[in-house]
């Protein structure tokens, strides 16, 4: 396999699948949440960069499923299974959902980070996928990388080094 194909970058509101020793990455998660669903035994993983909690918020007709927690995680799980992951072995790890700016206002948009995390956890529970680790909240952006080879999620935070879960 080409070296260039070893690292797959996922943009905002996108999802992707990797296998074996490939690495999947998404950069600059703020209030967005990066969710990895993987089958550690078969070394298959998918990642989605969730932007909003609920597809019910969508006001247009052609919805990009990867943008929302509910539709994004469902689509991710389907894709991992289609790529050879076993439904009953799937586990999840997640990071993100920060509150980048501090305001006194408590309006819903301001709380988008925590709401994204809640929605992701709810959807994973609904699909009966166990969460093995998470690093959420706070007020810092994150870049995350995952490889199905070792099932580890690398989380990089500006000025705070790397956390591995």
């Amino acid at each position: 396999m080409d070296k260039t194909e070893q690292l797959i970058n996922i943009g905002i509101a996108e999802l992707g699948i990797v296998k074996g020793n490939q690495v999947i990455r998404t950069c600059g998660l703020g209030s967005c949440v990066g969710v990895v669903v993987f089958d550690g035994e078969r070394k298959i993983a998918g990642m989605v960069h969730i932007m909003l909690p609920d597809s019910g918020l969508a006001r247009d007709n052609h919805v990009n499923v990867a943008k929302f927690a509910d539709t994004g995680i469902t689509a991710l799980v389907e894709k991992v299974v289609l790529s050879g992951g076993r439904r009953s072995s799937l586990k999840a790890k997640l990071a993100g959902g920060a509150q980048m700016f501090q305001f006194s206002s408590s309006s819903d948009t301001m709380r988008i980070g925590p709401r994204n995390v809640e929605a992701v956890l709810q959807q994973l529970e609904k699909l009966q996928i166990q969460v093995l680790g998470s690093d959420v909240g706070g007020s810092k952006g994150r870049t995350i990388e995952f490889s199905p080879d070792n099932s580890l999620l690398n989380i990089k935070i500006v000025n705070q080094g790397v956390i591995i879960i």
């Binding site: 943009g11 905002i12 509101a13 996108e14 950069c27 600059g28 998660l29 703020g30 209030s31 967005c32 932007m51 909003l52 918020l57 969508a58 006001r59 247009d60 990009n64 943008k67 920060a98 980048m100 700016f101 501090q102 305001f103 206002s105 948009t109 988008i112 007020s139 810092k140 952006g141 994150r142 870049t143 500006v158 000025n159």
Partner: protein, 213 residues
Amino acid sequence: MPFMDEIKTIHLDILKEIGNIGAGNAATALSTLLNQKVDMSVPKVEVVSFNEMMDLVGGPENVVVSIYFRIDGDAPGSMYFVMSLEQATSIIRRLIGDSTFTIEQIENHPFAVSAIQEVGNILIGSYVSSLSDFTQLNLQHTVPSLSIDMFGAIISYGLMEIGQVSDVAIVVDTVFFAESDSKNEELNGHFFLLPDPDSFTKIFSSLGISDNG
């Protein structure tokens, strides 16, 4: 409203003029504050995907100093004043009169935080009030909120409103720079204006242009 499909050159030109007037006033204010000549580019108004948006300031992982404002009133939206670490350092040094200041110290330096927030406040204040005069719309901005972090993490926050309607955003991007730094793109700052989806109609109709041009 499927506004992205209906947007025409005339609408983009109006937004460009808004950026021009707003940022022109802001650049003058910054110049007065720093006692230094500040130039700006002709604003770019672009319809960009969220991922293209990240590349406007060196990619999602690029660490920047940003001051975020929410605009309230008749035509709500988000506004950012984004600088490179170098540029913010040089502005802060100038304002607090301490040439040894480095950006790493900022978390323990409330005076520096308040200096840079005040810069944002003055700039956005003049941007928003000229926008308000031009359109005759009632607009106010919130207090500034400072964040030094990855650009992707910062800008995605301002895409939440538009994200509910669309996968692309209309961004009014004005670049400004100190005259001595004009050849060094690293020292460029940006104003980003991201109107909420429903605000476009209001801005256009306040200027006598209907939605469908």
